[in-house]
């Protein structure tokens, strides 16, 4: 099925600015879904609020555009009651990790089979460029005119300590990686996290003088390296790309169905 068939024409034109990284993510994600040969009826896409969260409107799946920060909680209810469906949850960094941080760590801890895709542009785009928990120290933003004093955290480290059983990172420059990683994340049985470093030229780029979207993507190329490549020896500050965690642990809805079997055997108790 060509990628266009996954798109809802009537939701277009999209709201994203020219050069925004989110369109690249959408493209890479649809390609992954196409290559996996998933039927549109078995995909539920759940999103929260923000530029990135508008993705759910544009695709022809079962789509749930919810409230800020809570997409994973809504998705958990869908998955619990219909475990055979594929749940994909695109989120921005603020949506997933500021207001939604609690749901993120607990969905990871439960190891419920959801695919969380975090488009990390280090800024609140929709509200006009305020700093996010991923902005990091020394960044200019609409609410940080003197530059940020907050520190960020590493999504991969957080995912790991919270219990995610799959975690990977790539960038909008590495479009092929986006597709291959999302494919693996969807196939993974358990909570999977995909961080995609994405550009917001309109705010983060402009406020921090990083140039246009091409120049910002060039930076993703320059400032990252594949896990295991020896580039890191030359420059310790390079951010790693690739799969950080991939392990098997009992999945939440599977464990629940085992519990149901036990409970049904004990029906007459109480």
């Amino acid at each position: 099925m060509p990628v266009q068939d996954y798109i809802r024409d009537r939701f277009f034109p999209h709201i994203w600015c020219p050069g925004c990284g989110h369109g690249i993510v959408l493209n890479g994600m649809l390609k992954a879904i196409e290559e996996l040969g998933l039927s549109k009826n078995e995909i539920v896409m759940v999103s929260g609020i923000g530029c990135s969260s508008r993705i759910s409107g544009y695709v022809d799946f079962h789509t749930l555009h919810t409230i800020h920060g809570r997409a994973l909680a809504f998705a958990s209810g869908v998955k619990m009651s219909r475990p055979e469906l594929n749940l994909i949850i695109p989120m921005g960094d603020g949506d997933a990790l500021a207001i939604g941080g609690n749901h993120f760590i607990h969905a990871a801890r439960r190891n419920i089979d959801l695919t969380a895709i975090i488009m990390n542009n280090r800024i609140y785009g929709m509200t006009g460029g305020q700093f996010s928990p991923l902005s990091g120290h020394g960044i200019k933003a609409s609410t940080a005119p003197y530059s940020t004093i907050d520190h960020d955290f590493d999504i991969m480290e957080l995912a790991k300590s919270a219990g995610a059983t799959f975690a990977a990172r790539t960038t909008t420059f590495h479009i092929k990686e986006i597709t291959s990683i999302i494919k693996k994340a969807i196939l993974h049985e358990g909570f999977s996290v995909v961080e995609i470093m994405s550009q917001c030229p309109t705010y983060f780029g402009k406020q921090n003088k990083l140039g246009n979207s091409f120049e910002m993507m060039e930076l993703f190329k320059k400032n990252t390296r594949k896990i295991g490549s020896n580039k890191k020896l030359e420059n310790k500050n390079l951010i790693e790309r690739g799969i950080f965690i991939q392990k098997e642990l009992p999945e939440y809805t599977n464990e629940y169905s085992k519990m149901v079997k036990i409970a049904m055997g004990k029906k007459n108790e109480r």
Binding site: R8, G57, A73, V78, S81, A263
Partner: protein
């Protein structure tokens, strides 16, 4: 003893009602005084192949039940004041997106942590107006376990009929008190099931298009009709819109679907109303005390009656107005600063004949409290 007679807490009566109504999925977070509901469902739901989820907070609980309702499940959550406050945003989402769900609030004293193990009826207005934006909502309560059971069944039926969240506003005394409950036989109470679309695959499905009778059929997530659900104003396809005509149409629909059916939705119980010169209006645990006063005085020949509210919202103004027409005094008995009193005053021709008997100290209102007010006004 017959198998379907039990001596239980109100919280358990609520659980029994929910299971009778066909509850499929419950998501919750422990909080006094509603925890027994969560605990009991963690036993019972897996036994019937249903779904029980303990979430990380009340926000997640509310969100999870909405998600599950979209796959066709009958869903519920239960909480108390602080958790109910946390649920408000997602509750508003359920109103906007018209998702059937049931929310139980076993009221404690508030604001804030307040008085977790003591009784209050302070969340009546929060149930009506806790979420932002204009809307209408159904809220019901009960004063005894048989009614707790039946309003819980009603709540599920109304949620499906009107595609709306329904709030069950019980209080600590009702939740924790032990009393007899007779569980009706299967089929004794009619159950309303999810109305599913009959539109066939490949035909344009409009998830927000009402039928002639006003009900809006749904299509489960995972089925063949893929559609969009959003908390933004939306058209009948679920497509976001800020077209003033569409916005106006939707907000009116959300309010009218409940307010225009108040005659069907609103329920009130009457005790000795026909010739009453003095009418007490009460609900929940307060109504038990009020009933006691009324029965006592009736037996001595006083023309006094009780209107017990089962439906709090939409407020049954038309019934109150009609029943209180000939009363000389109306006393609203409640455990707050007069949240229902204000509603009663606005629907009665002579507001000056309406008085309040209340208590806000975490203690169940007593016969003496009501007697004192009666002595002053009569």
């Amino acid at each position: 003893m017959k198998k379907n007679i039990s001596f239980i807490q109100g919280n358990e009566a609520c659980v029994q009602g929910a299971l009778y109504a066909g509850l499929d999925l419950f998501a919750g977070y422990p909080i006094t005084p509603s925890t027994e509901i969560t605990e009991l469902l963690s036993i019972r739901l897996p036994q019937k192949g249903g779904y029980f989820m303990q979430m990380e907070d009340e926000i997640a609980s509310m969100c999870a039940i909405i998600g599950a309702s979209l796959t066709g499940c009958k869903v519920m959550t239960a909480t108390s004041g602080p958790g109910f406050s946390l649920m408000q945003e997602a509750l508003g989402y359920a109103v906007m997106t018209e998702i059937p769900c049931v929310i139980v609030n076993i009221q404690r004293g508030g604001p804030s942590t307040g008085n977790p193990t003591h009784v209050s009826q302070g969340d009546v207005n929060q149930a009506r107006w806790g979420i932002h934006g204009d809307h209408s909502i159904i809220t019901m309560t009960a004063s005894n376990h048989q009614d707790v059971f039946s309003v819980t069944v009603d709540a599920f039926n109304l949620a499906e009929t009107y595609r709306t969240p329904v709030i069950l506003l019980f209080d600590e005394v009702i939740g924790h008190m032990r009393e007899k409950l007779i569980i009706p036989e299967k089929d004794d109470i009619e159950l309303i099931q999810r109305l599913k679309t009959t539109v066939s695959e490949g035909v344009d499905f409009r998830p927000y298009l009402p039928r002639d009778d006003g009900r809006i059929p749904m299509a489960d997530f995972g089925g063949t009709h893929r559609h969009n659900v959003t908390g933004l104003f939306h058209d009948m396809w679920g497509f976001p819109s800020n077209n003033p005509k569409i916005v106006d149409g939707l907000i009116h629909h959300l309010v009218d679907k409940i307010n225009n059916n108040i005659n069907i939705i609103a329920k009130v119980k009457e005790f000795h109303i026909d010739d009453a010169r003095t009418i007490l209006i009460s609900y929940g645990a307060s109504a038990r005390t009020a009933r006691h006063v009324v029965e006592n005085r009736r037996s001595r020949g006083e023309r006094i009656g009780l209107l017990e509210l089962i439906t709090l919202w939409p407020f049954p103004s038309h019934i109150i107005r009609e029943k209180c027409r000939n009363a000389r005094f109306i006393i609203v008995v409640e455990m707050n600063f007069g949240q229902i009193l204000k509603e009663v005053k606005t629907c009665i021709d002579k507001p000056e004949k309406v008085f309040l008997a209340n208590r806000v100290d975490g203690v169940l209102i007593t016969v003496q409290d009501i007697r004192t007010i009666l002595r002053i006004v009569q």
